[in-house]
């Protein structure tokens, strides 16, 4: 209480320059640790996929600053949730300098159990007596046991750790290490990643304490409060600029991955009133049988915040203050507020669609910001089996698709989904060296984009020629409900996964396989969806249509159909009279 009073009075007299110096310092620490983790981690999930986030959390678990390149689903406060759980269990009195805690619990994070937050308290000031916050890193642990994909509850998905101390007062707890090491199929990689995560936490802790000590704990705490207040003010100003109103958008996922073919409703309402924005998910599907569920915080709240952050733009920090004006209406027991016992292994499956639906709901409120829908599905292809030497191989190759067109330019891509970030394609030459296939083609998929004044981004086409027998698994969605256009723009083509057996002349659909046996000579053709268009196609500039035609981004047939243009014998397009 006294601390709070002191912080308040300090905040009042904190000079704006010291405030900025502290703000820049804190953001740069999270980015430095981000770079550190990326270079120290063992598993590609971290250094290629960037499946992690670094955050600084206040003494009561409030999110203060995060690295700028973190994975979107982590950025909405995954680290703060874990810290608050630890505080509720241990209280400040049972946490000490040198403690390091772990949490991946479904009741806390509400995501698949791989996502494990590690955090350590930061003490500063005289005798390091004052708790000024926590340094926290959420990392996708590569393997934590369980049966994974086909699970029917969370207990089949691996080891749960609920605010467990990994280190106590600067000493490792070897029993906890042993539990972890013996509950994973990939102990080398996981223990390597944990070492990187630990080193990042400790270095981040020390760098943060240095800042607090340099300016004094009271000034530091006052600055943190001001940083959050200013972010809140920026968020409120952004919302205030939107017209008040009730907005909504309804779409569906293809199915819930339990074998049913029933579409899953994704119905989203957004209310803007003054400087507050309420996301109402009360009409969204109930908890699913398949493992595509997520919890209230890790699911619904995360999605609402991620969508808001996309709308607000990359410039503003993501912290507790930014998210204060966002209210959530989300009854428990829904797809994105599932019971902690629900299966969650494929928890992000609905994320791209739900995030995009929240953004689309605001089409009328933010006409210049809301783009066409993106392809919006993980579009995964998995080849696995045994090599001739008996060793097991497994590759999860990701689909990148088109993003929606904007008010000022054509859509971009192919990129991964809105639930991904700086996630890179695995180089083809590397894939060919490791996997039993050769690629016949890797190209942009013509006509996949939604037409419009600005067209969407293109998906890609990738043809795998199988060289040795293996099994195929696929994960494609949005085939029945394609990426939408905005402001009169047209919808894009959804993805399509087809197989041509060796010697066959016809294709067969392989969009819902878990273990389809492929033989040498088979060809799997993966086509990913495009992005939706922006504005009426009739308003598209002729030069732009010509350019797309010359480049082969659209075919003459599509140009005629989507844009109503004629192509002369000179190859020039003109509007039909």
């Amino acid at each position: 209480m006294q601390d709070a009073v002191r912080a308040k009075s300090d905040a009042a007299e904190l000079d704006p320059i010291t405030l900025e110096v502290i703000r820049h310092g804190l953001v740069s620490i999270t980015n430095q640790i981000d770079a550190n983790i990326k270079r120290t981690a063992f598993s590609p999930y971290i250094y290629e996929y960037n499946d992690f986030a670094v955050g600084l959390v206040g003494p009561d678990g409030q999110l203060i600053a995060q690295c700028t390149g973190g994975m979107p689903p982590f950025v909405a406060d995954s680290v703060g949730m874990a810290v608050r759980d630890g505080l509720s269990i241990y209280g400040k009195e049972r946490l000490h300098h040198g403690d390091v805690l772990l949490c991946n619990h479904a009741a806390v994070q509400g995501q698949h159990l791989n996502n494990t937050v590690m955090y350590t308290p930061i003490y500063a000031g005289k005798d390091r007596a004052t708790l000024i916050g926590f340094f926290a890193i959420n990392v996708h642990w590569i393997e934590i046991g369980g049966i994974q994909t086909n699970s029917t509850d969370i207990f089949m998905e691996g080891l749960q750790l609920r605010s467990i101390k990994l280190w106590s007062k600067g000493e490792p707890i070897e029993e906890v290490y042993r539990i972890i090491e013996n509950n994973t199929r990939m102990p080398n990689e996981l223990m390597g990643d944990i070492a990187a995560q630990l080193a990042g936490c400790l270095l981040g802790r020390d760098l943060t304490a240095d800042v607090a000590d340099k300016y004094g704990v009271a000034t530091f705490s006052g600055a943190v409060k001001r940083i959050l207040d200013q972010s809140e003010a920026a968020a409120r100003a952004f919302i205030r600029a939107m017209p008040d109103g009730d907005y909504r958008y309804d779409t569906w996922l293809d199915n819930d991955r339990s074998g049913s073919d029933e579409p899953v409703p994704i119905k989203v309402k957004v209310a803007v009133k003054g400087d507050e924005l309420t996301v109402d998910f009360s009409e969204i599907a109930a908890q699913a049988k398949g493992s595509i569920n997520s919890g209230y915080y890790g699911g619904g709240q995360t999605i609402a915040r991620v969508a808001f952050k996309y709308l607000m733009g990359a410039g503003e920090m993501a912290n507790e203050g930014t998210f204060r004006p966002i209210k959530l209406i989300l009854p428990l027991g829904k797809l994105i507020s599932a019971d902690p016992t629900a299966p969650m292994f494929m928890y992000p499956t609905p994320f791209p669609t739900v995030i995009d639906a929240v953004i689309k709901a605001l089409e009328r409120a933010l006409p210049a910001r809301v783009p066409g829908g993106h392809f919006g599905t993980h579009s995964g292809v998995r080849f696995y089996g045994r090599r001739t030497d008996g060793s097991f191989f497994d590759t999860h190759d990701s689909g990148h698709g088109g993003w929606g067109a904007c008010a000022t330019h054509d859509g971009a891509g192919p990129f991964r989904t809105m639930a991904h970030g700086d996630t890179r394609i695995i180089p083809l030459e590397l894939q060919e060296a490791l996997m039993p296939f050769r690629l016949d083609e890797f190209s942009l998929r013509e006509d996949s984009a939604g037409a419009g004044k600005f067209r969407g981004g293109l998906g890609f086409r990738k043809r795998y020629r199988i060289l040795r027998a293996c099994l195929l698994g696929t994960n494609l969605d949005r085939t029945k409900f394609p990426p939408w256009g905005v402001q009169g723009g047209k919808e894009a083509r959804p993805g399509r996964f087809m197989l041509t057996k060796r010697g066959a002349t016809t294709e067969q659909n392989v969009e819902k396989e878990s273990a389809y046996r492929l033989e040498p000579g088979d060809v799997v053709c993966v086509e990913t969806g495009g992005g939706g268009g922006y504005g009426p196609p009739a308003e598209r500039a002729l030069e732009a249509i010509q350019r797309d035609l010359d480049a082969g981004y659209i075919t003459p047939a599509a140009a005629a159909q989507d844009y109503g243009v004629q192509i002369g014998s000179d190859g020039r397009v003109r509007r039909q009279s």
Partner: protein, 682 residues
Amino acid sequence: MAFAVAVDIGGTFTDLVAYDHDTHRVVYSKSPTTYANFVDGIVDCFDKVKLDPARANFVNHGTTLVINALIQRKGAKAALVTTTGFRDVLEIARGNRPDPFDLHYRRDDPLIPRPLRFEVSERIGSEGEIVTPLDVTALTPLAATLKERGIEAVAIFFMNSYANPAHEEQAAAALRSLLPGVYITCSTEITREWYEYERTSTVAANAYVGPQVTTYIRRLQQDFASKGFTGALHMMGSNGGLLSVERSCRQPVSLVESGPIGGCIGAGAYAEALGLKNVIAFDMGGTTAKCALVEDGRFSVDSIYYAGGYVKGFPIKSSVINIVEVGSGGGSIAWLDPQNRLSVGPQSAGSTPGPACYGNGGAEPTVTDANLVLGRLNPERFLGGEMRLDIAAASAAVRRIAAPLGYAGADGTNRMADGIIALATVIMAGAIKTISIEHGRDPREFVLFCYGGGGPLHASALARELSIPTVIIPPEPGNFSAVGMLLADARLDVSKTFTGRLNDTTVASLKNVFAEMEQEAGALLARDFGADEVLFERFGEMRYVGQRHNIKVPLPDTADPAAIRSAFDRDYKRRYGHSDARANAEFQALHLSSFSRLRRPELKWLPRAQRGGDIPPQRRPVSFGAAGLLETTVYDRTALAPGFAGQGPALIEEYGSTTLIWPDDRFEVGALGELRIHCGRD
């Protein structure tokens, strides 16, 4: 025939440094960069100091030509010839969004648009085996199409060519004979490492700038020759070494960071001469600040570079000194966002209109304006008095952002100016922390080596921010890039994909591969530079089995697997804080750096002639943060002889730069004319 010359063409000025081997005389010359014809500026530099190009035995030349052509998209009309099915590799890139929350993110357009990307039938497998032979007959009609389209340069990339370059070489040879006068380049001539996007992007960039660089170099040679120059022209490579003109024309992408590299070389040379083990080279110019680590006289070299930055730009696989750059320079603008939050940069006032104090219409406050307000710059002596600075304009600019933050009056303007510098310092310190933390180093164990127009002004504050005790300012900090180029070695970097677990068999074949690479590189250096003595440094790109991220490990002993393993573990631990004794290690690639030292001046000859004590120190009030306005001694650097020692607060002025000594600092002039500042603690 006794002069060695270095020429650095920068955005505003062309700098020349010449060294007479016989008399040890060093001359410096500066002239405005002549964009219409760069050679005019160089010739003007020669004329200004009455130097006859005929007396130069070599000219080392650094240029921003390549990076400018790539970023401003002023290169040639280039085409790509590639494997059937893969023409979009260049456009799809790696499919990542480095700025995750930018809803409207898009990458810069590829250098070669889709209609100019052509496919030919051929395929090489991942083991280097030929799956489909190259369709040579298709090249004749293709060449006709390229000619018809007015193509000036052709990039050739084939899938898996890293494992077997035969098809690329065949296609290049065929197209060269079919298209005389067209610039032809193929990916494996530049790098033999895998990753199709990176190789395609590299060869596309090479083609894009090839014709321009070739023309530029040929013209430079002709113009020099017409002035009687008979020596050798060397180009400054991004790897920190000199390249022959032939190699530069063939691989112009190796010049991508040709400009800023000189300073790093200079820092390395001084570190070696002064016996400094760990040095951070810090360069602050008009728009950005750059830093690099120099350890044991060597800077670290990356094998990938992102032209236009990682967020929107494209990769070039080429050896480039590892430099971290932030948008914080003298011209960086201080601004407030709608919440009145202060930021500095990355927007810059550039050279037009420039900072407000230049009086060319700039109204936004910049770092230079803040320094002027605080009394740290002499308005009469900027660039040796060639430009007069307007204090009133600087104060007015700073007041624009002071008022909204509640800073009123003259004191408020000073506090605001101080705040701008403080924030710029934090941003620059962040860059230094990033580069050291990324390498697992602690900046406190380094000496801060500062140059560039703004480096010496901010050095001491930066060192305090980083808890670095010692700062070194070399002679001629404003010309330091050219100085460094004068000190460069000839250098050749070659690399090759080499995969296999670390064991006796692999090490045996590794030895052979290195032997071949060394023979080739040695022969090239002997041919291009007349090198009789060549030094080699071998590196392995290694990782633990199961990882996909490599580290570059120096391999002094390539014969002993155990020694290689311990070198790898040690480097891994140093960089990452942990190593794994249980995991197997494996190779991904081999790199060979070959050096040959050219005749270069001893460092002690580099400072301008001392004018001795004939310039008495002046005094003027300078503002030092919380300490307020202090009466400060102002020295002319040319008056300070080696051995001179002094105390802060002080300013040391010279042409092109000013060094600020804080109140608790001590400084002395070293034997090589360098300023050594011992930073006091706040």
